[in-house]
Symmetry: C2
């Protein structure tokens, strides 16, 4: 019986973190006087762009695989992902010596497909719709007996993602607010639970593009909303919330701040130019939210998860 | 009488390092399994792209200003620079509360001009030749009584630049080789002296583009050679050696490795994509040299100074 398919206690959360530690990097927390000045708040960037496979998703993928029985592990794991989770599952599976089957939409950036191949993931390309992705993954599950891992709507994955916030709060226990981007909801839900367990009067805020504001609308309406279009540069945030992460987000997230596309590009450029680190557009969404709602963060100690750094350098917005 | 206008002892070098420490960042040393695999050697990147003002030049600028008398400091400092030294002098002067007059060639990237202004440097634009730069700087010296700081051919500046290598060798005392790019020669000369004083059987190697291989030719001929053209993407390496740094380079540098322009761009892209950090083309020259001469570095423990991260994002080679 897998351990973490139910609500996790604080102690279990710490145990899960200990279990994945040998397989992940402890990423640095960076800050920048210049960006603090521009934002009018002190920001602590948890740099998951320096995580193995270039994104926080390595945490959730590792947690989920470690949560499988020995027999299940041997048959391998399957996922569908537009990018970072695909790389993470491939690398985590490779590290743990099991096969990984990856369904990727034809629209995924070349650099992400190449990385998956590099990590030994077996790629199946499908049309770029959620339905096609799910069908292709189901087919592989039937054929191989491998276990399906969902990038964001599976509790062990969600808890794994939350471990970045645990580390950030270990180093900065007095954060007033912790902000992450929200796409499928896994990072935000895991972070929100970590903030509740390990923060001291710390609020958790989500950030998402206006163009895919399903999480914002879901919190307002009280049910999972969908996006009719996904016209955003933040390619990691096009997916929608799920029934496993939505309750955690409802319970533990204070609010979702929405940002415009040009604000995302400006925020990304500022981080690149001033901090000299490469972050994805999806990661810049959180910084854009702080810049947009400066008053909310003024005088606060703000934590921020830089979710990843996997960018197609041939296709930059500047 | 300034302290460091003569050959420095090991103890004085350590003292100079202590003096500048409050004004500079201790930059992180990073490494990457992926890049180690590609290069076939273990590389320790000393990330001066995370230095204040985005480059190692902050070290030399600070060392030189601290080396001035009180009266001289009050009148301020002057320099001419295509970029990083201009920013460094502006910021160092601002931090120490003195004026900085900066002569910049009209060809300098906009992002670098903006940064100098940001740091409070007073800019004079001149035509993009060494002669024009020198004349404009001399004029300011006459008018203001400010002290001229040379970006690379002045001993206190050279020693300041060498402190990055001191820190790298403190953390990794068993490096077999330390490689830096060479342009004006300040970083390489300071690094070479630091390697001699603080390394154990460690060699110092320079790396430069074929397009501006004056340092390579100077070492061969035994006199300072010039470049007839400066057609390289490594905009920080267009200058030539000087009479202060050349003797140090002759004495302490084992060799200079030259690289092609496309090798520089590939090396830069690899660092950006795999390490998720922003490095200048000039910094990528050192990594390109390791990739070009893999045999020389195989099985070695290689240190590398990532000289800076000030890039014009509107004008990337990929």
């Amino acid at each position: 019986m897998p351990l973490f398919h139910k609500m996790i206690s604080k102690r279990e959360f710490q145990k899960l973190h200990e279990n994945i530690k040998p397989h992940i990097h402890r990423t640095p927390v960076m800050n920048s006087h210049l960006l603090n000045e521009i934002a009018g708040t002190e920001i602590f960037f948890k740099c998951e762009n320096f995580q193995r496979a270039g994104a926080f998703k390595m945490r959730g993928a590792t947690a989920a695989i470690l949560n499988l029985s020995e027999e299940a592990r041997e048959k391998g794991v399957v996922t569908h992902s537009s990018g970072n989770f695909a790389q993470a599952v491939s690398l985590a599976a490779k590290s743990l010596g099991i096969p990984a089957y990856i369904v990727m939409p034809s629209s995924a950036p070349e650099v992400k497909k190449a990385a998956v191949q590099n990590y030994g993931g077996k790629i199946t390309i499908c049309p770029p719709t959620i339905k096609d992705r799910e069908e292709a993954a189901e087919k592989i599950v039937k054929e191989t007996g491998a276990t399906f891992l969902h990038p964001s709507n599976q509790l062990d994955v969600i808890y794994g993602q939350g471990t970045a916030a645990i580390e950030l709060l270990e180093e900065h226990p007095d954060l007033d607010v912790l902000i992450t981007p929200v796409g499928g909801g896994g990072l935000l839900a895991g972070t929100a639970l970590a903030v509740d367990y390990f923060g001291k009067n710390c609020k958790c805020i989500g950030a998402e593009p206006f163009e895919v504001d399903d999480a914002y609308r879901s919190l307002k309406s009280g049910k999972i909303e969908t996006n009719e279009t996904t016209n955003t540069i933040a390619d990691g945030l096009k997916t929608q919330l799920g029934d496993k992460n939505f309750p955690l987000i409802q319970k533990y997230v204070s609010e979702i701040i929405r940002v415009e596309e040009d604000e995302i590009i400006l925020a990304m450029r500022l981080i690149w130019e001033r901090m000299k680190i490469i972050v994805e557009p999806s990661s810049a969404v959180a910084f854009a939210a702080v810049l947009r709602e400066k008053k909310k963060f003024r005088g606060k100690k703000t934590g921020m998860i830089i979710s990843g750094g996997n960018v197609d350098l041939s296709n930059l917005p500047f």
